[in-house]
């Protein structure tokens, strides 16, 4: 956190509102020395041939206790058994009789919950390394539990992905199931280590340990959101995918079980299965990434999978010795996307204005793909050059694409009634948010050159530059290879010779044109899915993955070196920020800075046209 202090008597603060003193917050960079990765005892085997698709129906009170469930058991995608299961403690004798009648009538299996868990979930799926599929799996899986507790990390481990999650006991003498709900669209699943000895005596004598089966789980709410770019209910997903069966209305779900409610439960499973098949068809377009659909948690997972498929080494791996002080400066210049409302509670005429593929566009304009594939980043002083550049920059110069590659610069400025992104607790807000507003500060602050130009466009004055650092990509990495995007060999991208972002945007436009001209409904659907996949891919690789930070909760606080601006101090923390695999904060700050510049250009043009 840094203190900002407006300069009330600033002679050049013409037009700035009356200053208000407010603490501001800067992003820092917690540098951790490289560690040996902890030994992963999980099996790395691919999923086995069996798949269990299931859904549960619960009581409608707050407890939402399991009443019945319906399932389909498949091998290599072929149905081998369908059935129902029930919790004997939650359904009446009459309801069990109804279930028996329905199961007999339909020729499907009926089990008590314990039998279903042992025979189908554990013997059928867990033992054979199969996959559990459902829609909103954390809810349905947790309904099957006998008991629950807080998930623990593995003995001796420093952190765990399941910390803060749940550990469910499904059956005695069977491994617990751990679930960590990460967001509305995403959760982690995995079986804990079995309590019984799972390595044969002969193996143990030789000091061997068999790997642990963690299970494979595919939540269609997660995969559906990643592949369609939006969150869904089972109903909306089925409609979007055009499945043969659609979700039906079950009426009052809390009523005693009747044939209609049983039919509803069985239909839900059928709809889930068809959604699964359709999503796998869509995912086949990304088969070249070699990533299993279980490992796709979001659009970003897909983006990372493509970068891996092209053989691109993450920046932190390619250049581990990059100066952490400069990374601190980069991080302090980073501000997320801009979202503001200028006029509230007033009816005004509006004009809708949208930027097509804004982040991929600024990536292309600045040539940021060269940074993604580079062996690292070099830096040099550019203070004098940037002062002159800033003085000459205006709206017209920004309309020239050759202007933008020069924006890969960080600038340390002495803010004095300039307009900059600022992170602060505005008004009565308990958390810091980002606003783009007038800023003065006694302490120099780092911003991107794009933010400096945006300030100049809006205030009419160049910010006072203390120093500037130009960043440039080193030579491309070795062993990069071409991939076909979205399952079409015509969409081949060579990471060395192509600008990936430009190519993806061009391919999407081309696919959209083909889709519009296509008469055949099937081909039209395929092309539509392909253009959507390209859109998701462009967005997934053009921002979020570069600023991915995961917080690891530790049992005991540790000392870390915190770099903030160009200062360093040691801090003790039990919440470590672990950078994601493709963490590259320079790209994140350049992208968001350039996007704000596009908005500033728009704002300037609107103001000049008297449209404010």
């Amino acid at each position: 956190m840094a203190q900002s202090s407006p300069s009330p008597e600033a002679p050049d603060a013409v037009g700035a509102p009356a200053p208000e003193r407010l603490p501001i917050y800067l992003r820092g960079y917690a540098h951790q020395p490289p560690r040996q990765p902890e030994r992963d005892r999980s099996t790395q085997l691919p999923p086995g041939p069996w798949t269990l698709i299931f859904d549960t129906e619960t009581t409608t009170d707050a407890a939402q206790r399991l009443r019945i469930g319906a399932y389909q058991l498949l091998k290599h995608g072929q149905l081998r058994r369908a059935g129902l299961f029930f919790d004997p403690d939650a359904v009446s004798e009459a309801e069990v009789a109804c279930l028996r009648r329905e199961a007999g009538h339909r020729g499907i299996a009926l089990h008590r919950l314990d039998d279903f868990l042992e025979e189908t979930l554990f013997k059928g799926i867990y033992d054979s390394g199969g996959t559990v599929v459902g829609f909103n799996l954390p809810f349905d899986l947790s309904r099957l539990a006998r008991r629950w507790s807080s998930a623990r990390k593995n003995p001796g481990a420093r952190t765990s992905a399941f910390r803060g999650g749940f550990s469910f006991e499904l059956r005695p003498r069977r491994p617990h199931l751990r679930i960590k709900h990460v967001s509305r669209r995403m959760a982690f699943f995995g079986f804990a280590a079995p309590s019984k000895q799972h390595t044969a005596r002969s193996g143990r004598k030789r000091g061997e340990t068999n790997p642990i089966e963690r299970g494979h789980f595919l939540d269609l709410a997660t995969l559906g959101a990643a592949l369609t770019g939006q969150g869904h209910s089972l109903d909306s997903l089925a409609r979007l995918l055009g499945t043969a069966h659609q979700k039906t209305e079950g009426g009052d779900y809390g009523r005693p079980l009747d044939p209609e409610l049983v039919a509803y439960a069985l239909n839900d499973v059928q709809v889930t299965r068809e959604c699964w098949e359709k999503l796998l068809e869509r995912y086949a377009a990304h088969a070249e990434t070699g990533k299993l659909p279980h490992a796709i948690y979001s659009e970003a997972s897909l983006g990372k999978a493509y970068l891996e498929a092209m053989g691109i080494q993450p920046w932190r791996v390619a250049q581990p010795d990059f100066d952490p002080m400069l990374t601190g400066a980069i991080m302090s210049s980073y501000y997320g996307g801009r979202a503001e409302v200028h006029i509230r509670r007033e009816i005004v005429r509006t004009l809708y204005c949208d930027f097509a593929s804004m982040y991929p566009t600024v990536c292309t304009l600045m040539g940021l793909w060269r940074f993604v594939i580079a062996r690292g980043v070099s830096h040099e002083d550019a203070t004098a050059e940037v002062r002159a550049f800033l003085d000459s920059a205006d709206v017209e110069s920004l309309c020239d694409p050759t202007f933008w590659p020069a924006l890969t610069v960080l600038v340390e400025v002495e803010p004095n009634a300039d307009i900059f992104p600022t992170r602060a607790k505005y008004g009565e807000e308990p958390v810091a948010t980002i606003g783009v507003n007038y800023l003065s500060s006694e302490r120099p602050l780092w911003f991107t050159l794009a933010d400096c130009i945006a300030s100049k466009l809006l205030t009419g004055r160049s910010p006072r530059v203390r120093r500037a650092v130009r960043l440039a990509p080193l030579a491309p990495q070795d062993e990069l290879h071409a991939v076909a995007l979205a399952g079409d060999t015509a969409n081949r991208v060579d990471p060395v010779t192509d600008d990936f972002y430009r190519r993806v945007i061009d391919l999407r436009r081309h696919t959209q044109r083909r889709e519009r001209a296509e008469r055949d409904a099937g081909e039209k659907r395929r092309l539509d899915a392909q253009q959507l996949a390209l859109k998701i891919l462009a967005n997934a690789t053009s921002y979020g993955i570069f600023i991915e930070i995961n917080v690891d909760e530790l049992d005991h606080p540790e000392m870390v070196a915190l770099f903030e601006g160009d200062r360093q101090r040691d801090v003790e923390t039990s919440a470590l920020e672990a950078p994601g695999r493709y963490f590259h904060p320079l790209l994140a700050t350049l992208i968001t800075g350039a996007a704000r510049l596009l908005l500033a250009v728009t704002e300037r043009k609107l103001l000049d046209a008297g449209l404010d």
């Binding site: 691919p46 058994r81 025979e119 033992d127 054979s128 390394g129 193996g203 790997p211």
Partner: protein, 125 residues
Amino acid sequence: MDELERERFRDGRLRAAHRRLGSTRPVCVICGYDKPHGLEREHPAGRKHDDTTTFMCRNCHAERSERQREQPRGGDDPRNVFEILGRWLLSMAEYFELIIATLRRFGEFLIGLARQGYGSEFTVP
């Protein structure tokens, strides 16, 4: 046990074997045997000297272990780089000895088939 249960039980046992071996497609490097229940992990340079493993069927593993007895006794430092490289070279020699025996057996088997009239329907590519 009905048909479905038997199938799932067998798949469970197969998975356990794959898990033990760490692969779903293990093959004996000497003779090509590929049923996972009869396969084991084998340390080419010896467990003391290097952690690298390959797959070997029990018969070939036993044969290979017999040849391994002919190697010099271990020194004071099993992780000495020259010791490790030396063990690898000796092991490769033993592997080739066994593979040569397999190749002879395969060759003689094919010629035996030819003598019985098999193979005339194929052409040499």
